[in-house]
C-alpha cells in the first residue's frame, strides 16, 4: 500500500506581536491525506484554515512542525511544483487570456507546443472550450473559477489545494460549480484539500470532512462521508447527509459560541 500523499506533523503557525505573547493562528495540526482522497476542512471564521493551506503551499512558513509530500519534507516554497493552488477569486492575471493564464505554471517547463496542448486540454476539461482567447473580465465569475481550476490542474500537481474557490459565487452558480467539481474530480482523481465555510458543500464533495476548532485552530473532529460516488444533488436529502450536516453544524456552532464567549453573533 502506497504511503500518504500528504502528511502534516504538529504544524503550528504563530505571528509575533511585538513584546506580548505571539498570536497563535493554529496549533499542533496533524493530518494525513491519502492518494486520491478529497478532504474538506470546515470551521468557524478565523480558525486558520486558509492560513493552513498557505503554509502547506509554502506561501507562508510554519512556526514549527513538518509537511511531507510523498514522504519528502517540504521546506518553504521549494522549486518543485507538487501542489496546485486554486485561489478564492480575482486571481487570474487580467492581462492574460484564459489559455495564457492556464499556461502560467507550464511556461519554461515544457516546450510551448506541448504546454499549449495541455492548457487547451484542461480548459476543455473544465468546460471552457471556445473561451481560450477570452480575457478574465470577459468571463463570468463561475467561468473565471473554472480557469483558476484548470490552471492549478494543468501543472499535474500531486495535491490540489482549494481555498474557498466558490465563496464569491452566487448560490446557483456555486451549486453548479460543486457538481462540476465532482465531475472533474472523478475524471482526474486528484488528491484534494478543500477549504470551505459551507458544510453542505464539504459533505457533498468530500470523502472526509475535518472540523477545526476556533482560534487557535486545532483539529476538533473528523468524519468519513458515508455516501457512495458518483454523487448528485439528490444525496442532499439522504438521511446520512442530513445527519452529518447537523452533527458538523452543532460542533461549529459550539466553536463559534466558545470563541465569542457569550457575546451575540
Amino acid at each position: 500500500m502506497a504511503g500518504p500523499v500528504l502528511e502534516i506533523r504538529n504544524l503550528t503557525k504563530e505571528v509575533p506581536t511585538g513584546n506580548q505573547e505571539p498570536f497563535v493562528i493554529f496549533k499542533n495540526i496533524s493530518l494525513i491525506v491519502k492518494e486520491g482522497e478529497f478532504v474538506s476542512i470546515v470551521g468557524p471564521s478565523g480558525c486558520g484554515k486558509t492560513t493552513l493551506l498557505r503554509v502547506i503551499n509554502g506561501l507562508l512558513s510554519p512556526s514549527s512542525g513538518q509537511i511531507y509530500i510523498d514522504g519528502k519534507e517540504q521546506t518553504g516554497a521549494g522549486k518543485d511544483l507538487v501542489m496546485g493552488f486554486v485561489f478564492q477569486g480575482a486571481s487570474l492575471l487580467p492581462w492574460r487570456t484564459s489559455v495564457k493564464n492556464v499556461l502560467l505554471g507550464l511556461e519554461g517547463k515544457k516546450n510551448s507546443g506541448e504546454a499549449e496542448e495541455i492548457a487547451r486540454f484542461y480548459l476543455s476539461l473544465v468546460g471552457l472550450s471556445g473561451f481560450e482567447h477570452h480575457y478574465p473580465h470577459q468571463l463570468s465569475g463561475g467561468m473565471q473559477q473554472r480557469v483558476n481550476l484548470a490552471r492549478a490542474l494543468a501543472v499535474d500537481p500531486r495535491i490540489l489545494l482549494m481555498d474557498e474557490p466558490f465563496a464569491a459565487l452566487d448560490a446557483q452558480t456555486r451549486t453548479f460549480m460543486q457538481l462540476e467539481l465532482l465531475r472533474i474530480w472523478s475524471q482526474t482523481k486528484k488528491t484534494v484539500i478543500f477549504i470551505t465555510h459551507m458544510i453542505s458543500e464539504a459533505i457533498l464533495l468530500s470523502d472526509r470532512v475535518i472540523v477545526f476548532s476556533h482560534r487557535p485552530g486545532r483539529v476538533r473532529s473528523e468524519f468519513a462521508v458515508p455516501l457512495a460516488r458518483p454523487r448528485s444533488l439528490d444525496i442532499k436529502s439522504d438521511r446520512r447527509f442530513v445527519e452529518l450536516e447537523n452533527v458538523v453544524w452543532k460542533q461549529i456552532e459550539e466553536e463559534v459560541r466558545a470563541a465569542r464567549e457569550g457575546s451575540p453573533i
Binding site: 503551499n57 509554502g58 506561501l59 516554497a77 521549494g78 522549486k79 518543485d80 511544483l81 501542489m83 493552488f85 485561489f87 480575482a90 486571481s91 492575471l93 487580467p94 492581462w95 492574460r96 502560467l104 505554471g105 511556461e107 519554461g108 480575457y135 478574465p136 473580465h137 470577459q138 501543472v155
Partner: protein
C-alpha cells in the same frame, strides 16, 4: 455626443477669443484674433516654411529628454519598489529634486552641459523623469498581493515573477507616467529654449514676446499645444494597444 460636446467647447472658446481680440481689446499688440494666428501659422508652415527649424529643434530636445527620462525613471522606479533599501536611500533626494522648481536648475545645467542641446535635454529630462519614476514605482508597489502569490504558488523564479507578473501589472502605470511626462517635457522645452537658444519653439515665443509680435507668439504657443495633444493621444493609443484588458475593466 461626447465628440459633439468637445467640438462645441473648442468652437465656443475660439469664438470668445475672436470676440475678445477684435471687439473688446482691439489692440494687436496685446491680442490677435485666432484667424490671424491661423493665417500666420499657415504662412510659416507652407509659404515661408520657417517654422520647421524651430519645430525640429524643439522636437529633438523633447524626444531625447523623454527617452533618457524613461531609460532612467522606469528602472529606478522599479528598483525603489523592489528594494526598501534603495527606496530609503533615494527618497530624500528624489523629493528634494522633484519639489525644487526646475527653472532654478536651468542656469546650472547651462553651465554644466553647455549652451548646445545637452543642457536643454537635461532640463527636459529633469521634468520628465519624476512622473515616470513615481508611476513606475507606484505601479510595481501596488501589484496586488494576490497576483504575486499566484506567481509564488506556481513556483516562478524571481526573474519570471518580475517578467510575468510584476512587469505586465505595472505597464498601465508606466504608460500613465509617460503621458504625464509629455506635458512636463514640453514645459521643459520652453524653459530650456528661453536660455541662450537661437532656435526652437521656446525661442520663437520668447523672441516674439520681446518684439511684441503677437501672431508669431501665438503660433508658437499653438504648436506647443498641438504637440502636447498629439503626444498624449499617441501614448493613449499605445496604452490601448498594450493593455486591451484595461480599457474594458475601466468601462465596467
Amino acid at each position: 455626443m461626447k465628440g459633439m460636446l468637445r467640438l462645441a467647447s473648442i468652437a465656443g472658446g475660439l469664438v470668445l477669443w475672436h470676440v475678445l481680440a477684435v471687439w473688446v481689446i482691439d489692440d494687436s499688440v496685446l491680442l490677435v484674433s485666432p484667424l490671424v494666428v491661423v493665417a500666420k501659422g499657415y504662412e510659416m508652415l507652407f509659404v515661408t516654411a520657417d517654422l520647421y527649424p524651430h519645430l525640429f529643434a524643439s522636437w529633438w530636445i523633447f524626444f531625447y529628454g523623454m527617452i533618457l527620462a524613461a531609460l532612467v525613471g522606469i528602472p529606478v522606479g522599479f528598483l525603489m519598489a523592489l528594494s526598501p533599501l534603495v527606496r530609503d536611500y533615494i527618497a530624500p533626494w528624489m523629493t528634494a529634486l522633484y519639489t525644487t522648481p526646475r527653472i532654478a536648475f536651468a542656469p546650472v545645467l547651462l553651465l554644466w552641459f553647455g549652451i548646445d542641446i545637452g543642457s536643454k535635454i537635461a532640463i527636459v529630462f529633469l521634468g520628465c523623469v519624476f512622473p515616470i519614476l513615481i508611476n513606475s514605482f507606484y505601479g510595481m508597489r501596488v501589484v496586488s498581493r494576490e497576483f504575486v502569490e499566484v506567481g509564488r504558488s506556481f513556483r516562478l523564479s524571481g526573474g519570471r515573477l518580475f517578467l510575468k507578473i510584476l512587469l505586465p501589472a505595472s505597464v498601465p502605470f508606466i504608460l500613465a507616467g509617460l503621458r504625464l511626462a509629455v506635458g512636463r517635457g514640453l514645459t521643459g522645452v520652453a524653459i530650456a529654449e528661453w536660455f541662450g537658444a537661437t532656435e526652437g519653439l521656446g525661442y520663437l515665443i520668447f523672441f516674439a514676446g520681446q518684439t511684441l509680435n503677437m501672431p508669431i507668439l501665438f503660433v508658437g504657443v499653438a504648436v506647443f499645444g498641438v504637440l502636447g495633444v498629439l503626444g498624449f493621444q499617441f501614448l493613449q493609443i499605445i496604452e490601448d494597444l498594450a493593455t486591451p484588458w484595461k480599457k474594458e475593466l475601466e468601462a465596467k
